[in-house]
């Protein structure tokens, strides 16, 4: 275990060094994050006005959803995108071989090899937005509540990671269809708004098939103190299920990779 922690420290140390090679990009990323949040808030504001709600959510409540979306989007740019997009490169260039020959779990390596600090401000901004929205909506604040929020954030992160990893792992077979992660990202954008704002069929889709609801709406409900226990357990169950699926799918993919001569 100690070896894994030490590896992780080295991974991120080198990642930081790489990023500093391109400082301008970090600056651009910061501006982009600010602009993007501004645009999202503007778009959200269009749905509101005096006496208007979105799917039963008030403006400040919807801000919490938007805040969680921002947090997860930041998580995607600090962690998921830089790591998982390199899987296809490793497959195409054959450097996956080097990783498979390291005495360390290959999924660990591929999922945590690097991180991009440019997404961190986005996570901070998202959390601030959650706090602000919660404050405005008069959300009850309790230590237990905060713990549950963190757990649900973890659940959301795990679901997001597993979905993304599942799709990225298909690049073992289809190098060209890596674009499928773009489809996933497009669908995830629906998480900017409370899931109740969508028509019933989409609500089902976003709860059970691509559980966007557990990424943003459910954590927001927890903040507002109106989440129900079954929904929380369903979320935890889904996260565990998706993670197990991602893990076994990776093993399956590797068995294919190592049985084909390449």
């Amino acid at each position: 275990m100690g070896r894994y922690f030490k590896s992780l420290r080295r991974f991120w140390g080198t990642a930081l060094a790489t990023q500093l090679e391109y400082q301008v990009n970090v600056l651009i990323e910061l501006v982009a994050v600010g602009l993007s949040l501004l645009g999202s808030l503007f778009m959200l504001s269009l749905f509101f006005g005096p006496g208007r709600e979105l799917g039963g959510w008030s403006w400040s409540e919807a801000l919490i959803v938007q805040g969680f979306y921002t947090v997860l989007d930041g998580m995607a740019s600090t962690w998921l995108r830089p790591n998982l997009s390199s899987i296809v490169t490793h497959v195409r260039e054959g450097t996956l071989d080097f990783i498979l020959l390291k005495p360390i779990d290959s999924q660990f390596w591929l999922s945590l090899r690097t991180f991009s600090p440019a997404g961190l401000p986005e996570i901070g901004l998202g959390l601030m937005l959650v706090a602000w929205g919660g404050h405005q909506a008069g959300a009850p604040l309790s230590p237990l509540g905060i713990v549950i929020v963190l757990v649900m954030l973890l659940v959301g992160g795990l679901i997001l990671y597993s979905l993304w990893f599942l799709i990225a792992a298909t690049s073992i077979w289809f190098v060209k269809t890596w674009n499928a992660t773009e489809v996933l990202r497009a669908v995830l954008a629906s998480g900017r708004y409370p899931v109740t704002a969508y028509p019933a069929p989409l609500r089902m889709l976003f709860t059970l098939v691509i559980p966007v609801a557990f990424l943003t709406t459910v954590p927001a409900e927890v903040v507002l103190g109106r989440a129900n226990a079954p929904m929380l357990f369903l979320g935890i169950g889904l996260a565990a299920g998706f993670f197990a699926a991602a893990r076994s799918f990776w093993w399956f993919a590797l068995r294919y990779y190592t049985s084909a001569s390449s």
Binding site: A32, G39, L46, G55, T177, E182, A197
Partner: protein, 265 residues
């Protein structure tokens, strides 16, 4: 007649090879087409929202607007900066610069070839849309359709020129494509892809109309969806943007090439 090295024969050959090339990437392009579902997600939100009445589109008009927005986007999306950056980094660009054909034409041809490959996927998505919302079905008149086509191509031209500006910056700094992100964000929120411009507060709307973005999606989509729209003003402004951007791109490009060859890269 040759326009920056392009004549009919070269055009035919370029388009033919690029189309064949893009056909190789069918699966990728299908997924790209699918990843453009954002307008439909926004449509379902607007349909169920209290704010719908403020849009000034009743009944099926909103359905048609967002479907049109999707289609316009499919046939005006530009990605040349990524291809260009790749070509510049891998050194494929140098031989292009030596040929008696302006390199930008190659990228134009790639996009047109790709658009052709997208037709069946976009049609399939439109068909699915009409299956779910049969009452939204409409066939624009031939005249309208041609106008919408023209507006979409003008939109494509503006988007292409904007991205060429950024691509030209690659001559000065590697990875200038990061700047593309800064261009994409205002496009996303101001073009009408997420909400028709009529939803904007008057001040924002006026400001947005001073940018090229509404003419990339909102205007062509309204033409296609047969919404009331000032055709003459729309086309005139599209043309003005092209006339403003074109010389800028050519100047910057020429300066960039000079720098590129001076560095002996």
């Amino acid at each position: 007649m040759r326009i920056f090295g392009l004549n009919r024969k070269i055009l035919r050959v370029l388009l033919g090879t690029e189309y064949a090339h893009m056909l190789e990437y069918r699966a990728e392009i299908a997924l790209w087409a699918l990843s453009g579902v954002l307008p439909f997600i926004m449509l379902s939100l607007w349909n169920g929202s209290d704010a719908r009445s403020a849009l000034g589109m009743d009944g099926v008009a909103l359905d048609r607007y967002f479907l049109s927005a999707y289609l316009v986007r499919q046939f005006s999306v530009v990605w040349m900066v990524y291809d260009f950056e790749d070509d510049a980094l891998t050194g494929r660009l140098s031989p292009y610069l030596l040929q008696p054909l302006h390199p930008l034409w190659r990228y134009v041809a790639r996009h047109l070839g790709e658009q052709l490959t997208r037709v069946p996927f976009a049609a399939a998505i439109a068909a699915v849309f009409f299956l779910i919302q049969p009452e939204a079905f409409w066939l624009p008149s031939i005249g309208r359709f041609l106008l919408a086509w023209l507006a979409t191509w003008m939109a494509f031209t503006i988007a292409f020129l904007l991205q060429s500006l950024i691509a030209a910056l690659c001559f000065w700094s590697e990875r200038a494509s990061a700047l593309e992100r800064l261009l994409f964000i205002p496009f996303l929120f101001l073009s009408g892809l997420l909400a028709p411009l009529t939803a904007f507060p008057p001040l924002v709307r006026t400001l947005a109309e001073w940018t090229p973005f509404p003419y990339l999606i909102d205007f062509p989509a309204r033409v296609l969806a047969e919404q009331p729209v000032n055709l003459l003003a729309g086309f005139a402004i599209q043309l003005i943007w092209i006339l403003v951007l074109l010389p800028l791109v050519l100047l910057l490009w020429r300066a960039g090439v000079r720098r590129y060859s001076a560095m002996g890269a």
